[in-house]
């Protein structure tokens, strides 16, 4: 479904990504783990067109999306939940969700999808008239994911959904991710620091170090891998 081929990305003269090769199949949950500054977020940013790669190719369903505008990429069915949530703070929860459906015209179906979201997250239904900025961190993360889902994406990019959340909330968020994957058959590309939880929900994983992919395997194998355990799980 999504294929990154020898992708290199530079910020000015600094090279952030070196020969990244990632392949994601329909219906999978793929996770990308690594330390701070390894290039995980850059990989996501490059995928959704905000930071264009300096060389290499990115294929989405066989079509190259390199050097496309971010809005065109979203229109093709790749939605992202940006790092740090970035909900619209002064818009109500409902307006936030409505923004997620910005590119869609099917009013009736949008309503239905919103209903579905409210069923999945009763707390959001309860707070639908509240301003986004007044929600708690966990609720904001739920809103950010829901908002991305309102675009009916084929591929959902999640950037550190556990950032700044309490462990119990993080577990909830990961349950939601699993549920979204199963119910909507949405392919998920998950970038995470919390390697332990990420590998538990994912099918396969990639390990990143200094802008390079150093290891890739099934999530189960990675969890059992001694190097990964030492470096990222602290065991």
């Amino acid at each position: 479904m999504l294929k990154l081929i020898d992708v290199q990305t530079h910020y000015g003269k600094i090279q952030a990504l070196r020969d990244i090769n990632i392949e994601i199949h329909q219906g999978e949950i793929i996770t990308l783990i690594g330390a701070n500054g390894a290039g995980k977020s850059t990989t996501l940013m490059t995928t959704c067109g905000i930071v264009p790669p300096s060389s290499g190719d990115i294929l989405f369903n066989g079509k190259s999306i390199v050097h496309m505008n971010p809005n065109k990429i979203v229109a093709m069915g790749i939605s992202q939940v940006p790092e740090g949530r970035h909900i619209f703070p002064y818009l109500s929860v409902k307006e936030n969700l409505d923004m997620g459906a910005f590119l869609r015209d099917d009013t009736v179906q949008i309503r239905k999808d919103m209903d579905h979201i409210f069923e999945m997250f009763p707390i959001l239904a309860e707070r639908q008239h509240q301003q986004g900025g007044t929600l708690s961190g966990g609720e904001q993360q739920m809103l950010a994911i829901s908002r991305a889902l309102m675009a009916k994406p084929k591929l959902l990019l999640l950037d550190e959904p556990s950032l700044g959340l309490a462990p119990i909330i993080v577990r909830q968020i990961f349950d939601i991710i699993k549920k979204v994957n199963q119910e909507n058959n949405t392919t998920i590309f998950l970038v995470e620091q919390n390697a332990n939880l990420a590998l538990k929900v994912a099918d396969r994983g990639y390990v990143m170090e200094n802008g390079r992919i150093t290891l890739t395997d099934s999530a189960g194998n990675l969890l059992a891998n001694d190097d990964v355990r030492k470096a990222y799980l602290g065991i």
Binding site: N69, S79, S92, M114
Partner: protein
């Protein structure tokens, strides 16, 4: 509860004020007799006045905080002003609208030519305010050089008439179009900027336009300006000065109504939602699939269009323009209209324009203190009504599905 602490703080404030105003209020040099007069009485008066003021000020603050605490954060009733509440009730709404219509149509018959002229100026500013409201209020791009587009409009009418004899009605859309072009011209280089950087670049843009008009004598006739710009015609009928003014007044009313209609439609359209998303969060805006560049450029272009049309009308009204009418001060006034009235709110901008343009005219007696009052009003407003006089209420998207709670 008045605590000792409060009194102490107010006392300190009054001492500070006495110290600050000491040089101007107490010392007076009598240059004739070469001696210094010490007016100690003034100092005591200042002390008492500032003590009382500071005391009340603190009280108001405390009440504001208390009020904020009592409110349930899930309700945003606070944002709706009394004015809007009254408007919501049908029994006031229709009579109010009818009365307003009568007042507006009857205005030229009731008041003198001077008043009508002031009102036309105020209406031009309503138009400018609504235009800037698109850029600042909706799209959240702080534009300090808005007057440049106003100047482009005015000069395009004046120059097009001077060289090609183009009339008002042709110049009106042309001026708007040219300004929109300049809006895009400014928009391109500032696509990547936001916040303070954007403000500085737009400020520079405004000044550049003014300086070009002032110094390029062959093109714009420099500081001496362009005179004998014709007033708008009405099917070639000859009119007296009074007739022209009244005609311009009604014209302005129609144009303002047209502006309100268009801005209102824009606000609730897809592009309006894109502007709001851009204002709230640029990263999220991109993640929603909104074309950031296009959204910014349309905001600049559409905002500039109204300024351009306002400029054409201004040129037609005064029949003479020179660069002195398009200083940075104008930009600030228009910005104040938007901020004071209520960012993003059409009603707010209209009331802001009326207050800021009409009040100084009628309070000529206090013109020395105009800036002082202006500053005080702005500070007080930002503390007690940060949303403006009539804040924006966005159209709520009615949720017709089953309520989940």
């Amino acid at each position: 509860m008045v605590t000792l602490e409060e009194i102490k703080k107010s006392f300190l404030a009054s001492i500070w004020f006495m110290f600050l105003t000491f040089p101007i209020m107490v010392i007076r040099v009598n240059t004739v007799q070469n001696e210094i007069e010490w007016r100690w009485k003034n100092m005591i008066l200042i002390g008492i006045a500032s003590f009382i003021l500071s005391f009340f000020w603190r009280n108001l603050f405390r009440q504001k905080i208390k009020k904020g605490k009592q409110k349930d954060p899930s309700e945003n009733t606070e944002k709706i002003s009394i004015f809007q509440k009254v408007l919501k009730e049908k029994k006031y709404y229709y009579p109010g609208t009818v009365a307003l219509c009568f007042f507006v149509t009857g205005f030229p018959l009731l008041f003198s030519l001077y008043q009508i002229n002031i009102m036309i100026t105020a209406l031009i500013y309503v138009m400018l305010g609504l235009g800037l409201n698109i850029v600042v209020g909706l799209a959240g791009l702080l534009d300090l050089g808005y007057v440049a587009f106003y100047a482009v409009g005015a000069y395009s009418y004046a120059l097009l008439h001077y060289h090609f004899g183009i009339g008002f009605w042709t110049a009106l859309p042309l001026g708007g179009l040219l300004s929109a072009l300049f809006g895009i011209l400014l928009g391109y280089p500032v696509l990547r900027l936001r916040g303070d950087y954007l403000a500085i670049v737009t400020l520079g843009f405004g000044e550049i336009i003014r300086l070009i008009l002032e110094n390029w004598n062959e093109f714009s006739f420099g500081p001496s300006g362009i005179a004998n710009i014709p007033r708008p015609g009405f099917f070639g009928i000859k009119m007296s000065l009074e007739g022209h003014t009244i005609y311009l007044y009604y014209l302005m009313i129609l144009l303002v109504l047209f502006t309100i209609f268009v801005v209102n439609r824009l606000q609730n359209s897809r592009i309006g939602r894109a502007w709001i998303a851009l204002r709230e969060d640029e990263i999220a805006c991109q993640a929603m699939g909104i074309d950031k560049a296009k959204t910014k450029l349309t905001a600049f272009a559409l905002g500039a269009t109204w300024a351009g049309m306002g400029g054409v009308i201004f040129a037609a009204k005064t029949t003479f323009i020179n660069p002195a009418s398009f200083t940075i001060w104008e930009s600030i006034i228009i910005l104040c209209i938007v901020v004071l009235g209520g960012m993003g709110s059409i009603l707010g901008v209209i009331s802001g324009a009326m207050i800021l343009i009409l009040l100084p005219e009628y309070l000529r007696a206090f013109s020395e203190y105009r800036m002082l009052i202006f500053g005080v009003v702005l500070v007080v407003m930002m503390i007690f009504r940060p949303g403006g006089i009539i804040p924006d209420i966005r159209r709520a998207y009615k949720y017709k599905g089953k309520e989940t709670h």
